[in-house]
């Protein structure tokens, strides 16, 4: 064996290495964008690298992750959900209205005894699950395209929420005076002081994410939704109960919005009928940045989480370095497009 390599061999090896680097960067494009962003912000302002900031970013992301888990599942089936944000708003108002403390002067239900914490949360979750189920029925059985079905549901849900919100005795006004046990859920944490601690909502979000990951990767239902999104006809002729699975995916998503809405109210200590406005687009953007295909069949839970985190870091980090909020919008827009343009290379036909 000779130690001297011939030039062709060296060239071939270099080519192979270049290709490996290219493949790697393509495969992990999203994650590379993510890291680059953090590095850029840290260079501008080294104080960004702190546990406190990490904690804040995670808290900020928690409810968004839960919403993204719902929207993400729907996107995988090739659908979409524009009603997510309004459902979050409905859940926030419903749970907040049922969890005001007794002495609060403008209590929506003045004489009502205190309910156990879980009950209003469950009511909010069920309310949204019913809306989700309605979405599913409209899409699976009436064959209305998801974009239109959920657009209608978005508009209608805001109406439902506003009627509820505007009810006597005090009419439309922000719901405040939330009970301590609810606000603790939103701002409490495990740990011994503010810095070295994990907020409850982050734990809830991670538990939900783990549950959805199991559901998507380890169950028949999960494999089925990928098949439905990847090739609906194939799923149908293979005996996949397409309609039932669609109902389930929209219902689960609704339930998740219900939970997320309650946590939004808990985190912010109040609710109005405008809560959640636009969250559906944030969630869709986060999912696609995280590698979920809007045409269905492709997407992972870790990808969705990273997508949410990217947006949280942009919002938080760019505000941290005092960037003009309008510029932040431009950067967010560019990232949505760039991330997808990069990510889609993985799937384009090789010509």
């Amino acid at each position: 064996m000779s130690l001297v390599k011939n030039p062709e061999e060296i060239q071939a090896r270099n080519l192979a290495r270049q290709k490996a680097i290219k493949d790697f960067s393509l495969k992990y494009a999203i994650y590379l964008v993510f890291v680059a962003l953090i590095i850029a912000i840290t260079i501008k302002s080294p104080a960004f690298m702190s546990l406190q900031n990490l904690r804040n970013i995670l808290s900020m992301s928690a409810t968004r992750i839960i919403i993204a888990m719902g929207v993400g599942g729907i996107l995988i089936t090739g659908g979409t959900d524009l009603s997510a944000g309004r459902q979050v708003g409905l859940a926030a108002v419903v749970s907040a209205s049922l969890l005001q403390f007794m002495e609060y002067p403008r209590r929506m239900y003045p004489g009502m005894p205190d309910l156990p914490l879980w009950l209003p949360i469950l009511i909010a979750i069920i309310a949204c699950a019913i809306l989700g189920l309605a979405n599913g029925v409209i899409i699976a059985y009436l064959k209305v395209p998801p974009f239109i079905a959920t657009l209608g549901m978005m508009v209608a849900t805001y109406g439902i929420n506003s009627i509820y919100f505007d009810r006597p005795p005090y009419g439309a006004q922000p719901i405040g005076g939330l009970r301590k046990d609810l606000t603790t859920l939103g701002s409490g944490y495990v740990g011994f002081d503010g810095t070295y601690s994990i907020p409850y909502i982050v734990i809830i979000a991670l538990v939900i994410a783990a549950f959805i990951w199991l559901l998507h990767n380890k169950t028949r239902f999960g494999k089925n939704i990928y098949a439905i999104g990847g090739n609906p006809e194939a799923a149908k002729v293979s005996g996949v109960p397409v309609n039932k699975n669609l109902l389930a995916v929209y219902t689960i998503a609704g339930a998740l919005y219900g939970l997320a809405g309650t946590l939004e109210a808990a985190r912010t200590g109040g609710a109005t009928n405008n809560y959640g406005n636009g969250y559906e687009l944030d969630a869709i953007a986060a999912c696609v940045v995280g590698g979920v295909s809007t045409s269905g069949g492709i997407g992972t839970v870790p990808g969705m989480i990273v997508g949410v985190l990217i947006f949280s870091i942009i919002s938080y980090g760019l505000t941290f370095i005092n960037m003009n909020p309008y510029w932040q919008q431009i950067i967010k827009g560019a990232i949505i497009i760039a991330a997808v343009a990069l990510d889609i290379r993985k799937y384009l036909a090789k010509r």
Binding site: L214, K218, T219, R220, G222, K223, N224, Y226, A227, G230, N231, E233, A234, A235, K236, V237, S238, G239, V240, P241, G297, I298, Y347, R351
Partner: protein, 504 residues
């Protein structure tokens, strides 16, 4: 099994769609342990009948007996559970998922863990491997289906159908993308299944295949049954005449074209893509029909698409009428008088929702732009009317959406589209794929006419009779290399086959 001796009987099945009587009192009786071919032109109702059986369509009237007992399926699931599985004509893979998930879709094995039930990936992998090895297929169960070749996807579909342990397996055009070897392998599998008592309903347009594999043949025409025959009493010609309902004495029209000077000269052409064609040289004459034969994967499509500027070239020269040219895009190819009718008519040819008129003028819009930038619809209309008449396109009106036409008529519209660009060289990639026997003849007539008018034709075809019946010369490729150019008059099937498999 019922007393009748049939595993499956379909009696007096009728099914109509708005405006169309797709099936009219059709019957089909299948004996266990036989291969039963179902034949008919496109639109004769074969696929509709099978979809009624498989629970995708619900027949308006008639009965289906399985083992003598009446059944009514309302979903694919029920049909599968009852022991009927189907290989669908259009392959139905879920692209970005592993092979094994595709294989077991709809019945993924699960394992219980307390109150939860999880998919058992380990078992799925083992079952997949066992199934593939029992069928002699070499497919990795873990790769994305997207990364398989078309013929592997088709093998996967076959494996899937077999794995249902069905008593009746419907195979709708199972060999459309298989290589010769794989077809032989499939026939081995079919004979095995038959010997085990499974009934196979075999739908195909390939007559030679039908006669080789089937025991009985049922023929349909215009949504009605023509009859059921023993395969041994049929010949290609009798099948065709029963399918078409009249005698077709000639499968190919007479040709009067006279090849002249060299129009296109290709020298040492190599693709810039990996594993594509290398060092291909040939000449195409004025008024000549040059056939390109070979198996699927011989890179014939890649070759013509590269000449047409759709794919990158690494080296080689293209001369048009003695002048060396560089064709970097289809636009420049069209400007130089070339036209390409692609293989995938639906995917890359027609725009289904647009009218026949709009589809026809699509490649020529610039010719109809008037002074103010608006389209001159009158001129376009006149030209399209002329094309429709010339090519005998059967359409209710130029305004009809092209998706409502039959495959043959769609193909004629595509011919019309490209003829309006007044090309001197027409490249045809599988011009009669999926077209009825009757309509095929008309397409052949168009091709022969064009050649007689001095157009040069480069025609890829995987159908041996078509290649032999239509070409002045035949070039054969294998694994990206040119293995020979034969004279159309003296060439025979064996020589072509030998050249097509030279490097395998």
């Amino acid at each position: 099994m019922g007393d009748s001796g049939y595993v499956l009987e379909m009696n007096h099945i009728s099914k109509s769609f708005p405006g169309v009587q797709a099936l009219d009192d059709v019957g089909l009786r299948i004996k266990p342990g036989t291969v039963h071919a179902l034949m008919g032109e496109n639109g004769a109702g074969k696929s509709t009948l099978m979809k009624c059986l498989f629970g995708i369509y619900i027949p308006d009237s008639g009965e289906i007996l399985l083992d003598g007992k009446p059944v009514k399926f309302t979903s694919a699931r029920q049909a599968l559970d009852a022991g009927i599985s189907m290989i669908h004509q259009e392959l139905l893979p879920v692209p970005f998922r592993p092979v094994m998930e595709n294989l077991w879709l709809g019945r993924l094995p699960t394992r219980r863990l307390g109150p939860f039930s999880f998919v058992d990936s380990k078992r799925m992998l083992e079952d997949s491997k066992a199934l593939f090895s029992s069928l002699g297929m070499d497919i990795d169960p873990k790769v994305w289906v997207r990364n398989l070749s078309v013929s592997k996807v088709q093998s996967l579909e076959i494996a899937k159908a077999v794995s249902h342990k069905a008593r009746v397996i419907i195979m709708d055009e199972p060999t459309s993308s298989l290589t010769e070897n794989e077809v032989e392998q499939l026939f081995g599998i079919i004979r095995d299944l038959r010997d085990k008592g499974v009934a196979i309903i075999y739908i195909s347009h390939k007559m030679e295949e039908i006669l080789e594999i089937s025991d009985e043949v049922s023929i349909m025409r215009d949504g009605r049954s023509v009859g059921t025959y023993q395969a041994t009493e049929l010949t290609v010609n009798t099948i065709i005449s029963k399918m078409v309902g009249r005698d077709l004495t000639h499968r190919f029209p007479p040709r009067s074209n006279k090849p002249g000077d060299v129009v296109l000269r290709v020298r040492d052409l190599s693709s810039a893509e990996s594993k594509s064609f290398r060092n291909v040289s040939f000449e195409l004459h004025r008024g000549e029909i040059l056939g390109i034969g070979g198996l699927v994967g011989a890179k014939r499509t890649e070759l013509v698409e590269s000449i047409f500027g759709l794919r990158p070239l690494e080296s080689g020269k293209i001369e048009l009428k003695g002048e060396s040219v560089l064709i970097a895009s289809p636009r420049s190819a069209i400007a130089r008088g070339m036209a390409l009718l692609t293989e995938e008519r639906r995917a890359t040819g027609i725009v289904p929702m647009l009218s026949v008129l709009d589809n026809t003028i699509l490649a020529n819009l610039h010719r109809y732009v008037g002074k103010a930038g608006f389209l001159n619809e009158k001129k376009a209309g006149t030209d399209v009317d002329k094309s429709i008449e010339q090519l005998r396109v059967k359409t209710p009106s130029p305004r009809t959406r092209i998706k409502d036409l039959s495959g043959g008529n769609q193909q004629k519209v595509l011919f019309a589209r490209w003829l309006l660009t007044e090309p001197s060289i027409l490249i045809l990639d599988e011009p009669t794929r999926g077209i009825d026997v009757g309509a095929k003849y008309e397409i052949y007539t168009i091709i022969a006419d064009l050649a007689a008018r001095g157009k040069s034709i480069l025609m890829i075809s995987s159908e041996m009779p078509e290649l032999l019946g239509m070409s002045d010369r035949i070039m054969v490729m294998c694994e990206g290399r040119l293995t020979g150019i034969l004279d159309g008059k003296t060439a025979d099937q064996e020589t072509i086959m030998r050249l097509a498999t030279q490097f395998m």
